[in-house]
């Protein structure tokens, strides 16, 4: 409809969201700032170009729809907890993360930065230094509380970091040697390799493990390298071997003053604890990231190798999956609670 009419509707909806019982507390501040910006535009008829008002209304509508998806008390807290740490390391800005449980099978991540737009277009509005971008994470409902299956979200976060900073595009300007197969989309290939490497920093070989299940032996396509090639590059990176694709990205990251690609995840093993149906006690957030790779290997080793340390009869794949994912989820949550407790205790 008309932008100013829509803005009224969007503002009212945002106010209602802010009153919702299940709305995450850290999103209240974000929403308050949005309402202030909308009020500013509504109180200034004729001040801004109609094209700016129209684009602003579209942007606010997108943000409002993402926020609306986060009101249900179904947020996969543990996964978001880990992603928030990964994002913090790559962005000087805190980000507001919202989640949406989807009926689809794919994971997705949609970044929206209303503040850059507001700063650049609403000349008479002061954001007061508030500048958190919004990251919307779409998680298949089926996997909402299955953290091991949410591993692809680290890959999606890699795409977010890449497109926010235009890392792959910059690499194409600096290093013109093609890495895609002839006729394929060079930029898409670079983006996939970067996202794989980014994920490998946090979850090691778990970065490409899902591919061996959902896309084994897949040849190169127009947009994606072959599964074999993706695994080769990640393996070389994790082994510390010389790999031109890794070197290419490291050179760009230095230029852009971004962190280098390096392993963040600590090497841990959940085997002994999970065998005893105990949670794994992580001593650092780096060990929490490392937990995913170990839990993934634990679960599939049990499924494929028929391990039954719990002496459950009959032991089904579903039971192994449930035990592995539950223990992983609780291990992450325990760490988050202990950390919050310790922080509260030391800041008193």
């Amino acid at each position: 409809l008309r932008p100013r009419v829509d803005l009224n509707l969007i503002r009212d909806s945002l106010r209602q969201l802010n009153d919702s019982t299940y709305f995450e507390s850290r999103l209240h501040e974000f929403t308050d700032h949005l309402v202030r910006a909308i009020n500013h535009v509504l109180a200034s008829p004729g001040k801004y170009d109609p094209r700016i008002e129209q684009q602003f209304a579209i942007l606010m509508h997108v943000v409002q729809s993402h926020l609306a998806g986060s009101t249900a008390n179904e947020i996969p807290f543990e996964v978001v907890y880990c992603l928030r740490d990964a994002l913090r390391r790559w962005s000087g800005r805190r980000a507001a993360i919202v989640t949406e449980l989807t009926a689809a099978h794919d994971f997705r991540m949609i970044p929206v930065d209303p503040w850059e737009f507001i700063r650049s277009t609403l000349a008479g509005y002061d954001t007061g230094g508030f500048e958190q971008p919004l990251v919307m994470i779409g998680v298949p409902r089926l996997y909402a509380h299955k953290p091991i299956f949410c591993i692809p979200l680290y890959h999606e976060l890699g795409h977010f970091v890449d497109t926010t900073n235009r890392i792959s595009e910059a690499s194409m300007l600096v290093d013109r040697s093609p890495i895609a197969t002839p006729g394929a989309d060079e930029l898409s290939y670079r983006r996939e390799f970067f996202a794989d490497l980014f994920a490998a920093c946090f979850i090691g070989s778990g970065s490409v493990s899902p591919l061996s299940i959902i896309a084994p032996n897949v040849p190169p396509s127009r947009t994606h390298p072959s599964t074999r090639e993706r695994k080769r590059v990640v393996d070389a990176f994790l082994a510390g071997s010389s790999e031109p694709i890794v070197t290419m990205f490291q050179n760009i990251l230095v230029r852009q003053s971004l962190p280098p690609l390096q392993r963040v995840a600590a090497r841990v093993s959940v085997d002994a604890d999970f065998d005893e149906l105990r949670t794994f006690q992580a001593n650092s957030i780096e060990e929490v990231h490392g937990l995913y790779e170990s839990a993934w290997n634990y679960m599939f080793t049990a499924i494929d190798g028929g391990r039954n340390p719990w002496e459950i009869a009959p032991l089904t794949e579903g039971a192994i999956e449930a035990i592995s994912n539950d223990l992983t989820e609780k291990s992450i949550r325990n760490f988050a609670i202990r950390t919050a407790w310790n922080e509260a205790a030391t800041t008193r």
């Binding site: 650049s120 000349a123 497109t163 595009e169 910059a170 300007l173 930029l187 898409s188 899902p210 852009q256």
Partner: protein
């Protein structure tokens, strides 16, 4: 992971696109958007001639635009007159080219 990333390559960066729309309508740009447009264009040309100039101060939109410019001789020619100052005529031409890119894919 298996799905292709968004087909945003066929479009200009958001703020750049908005600025072109306003300039082509012969309306005045807000100061911050005007500064943004000038900086993005200047940085994009710099990067094309010297990619090593990419630094932490380079606007991501400038990198995006530079790649588009490097890939298209036609786009470079169309933008050349707007190196110092974007005019309504150039903005109109660029927006028309963008529509062409989008429909030709």
């Amino acid at each position: 992971m298996l799905a292709a990333t968004s087909p945003e390559r066929d479009r200009f960066p958001t703020l750049f696109h908005l600025a072109l729309q306003i300039v082509s309508a012969r309306r005045r740009l807000p100061d911050p958007l005007s500064h943004h447009l000038t900086a993005v264009i200047a940085q994009a040309w710099d990067i094309i001639s010297n990619p090593n100039a990419i630094s932490k101060d380079t606007a991501p939109e400038a990198i995006q635009l530079a790649l588009r410019l490097r890939e298209s001789e036609r786009l470079r020619s169309a933008m050349e007159p707007a190196r110092g100052h974007m005019t309504a005529e150039v903005a109109e031409r660029l927006l028309a080219m963008e529509r062409e890119f989008e429909t030709s894919r």
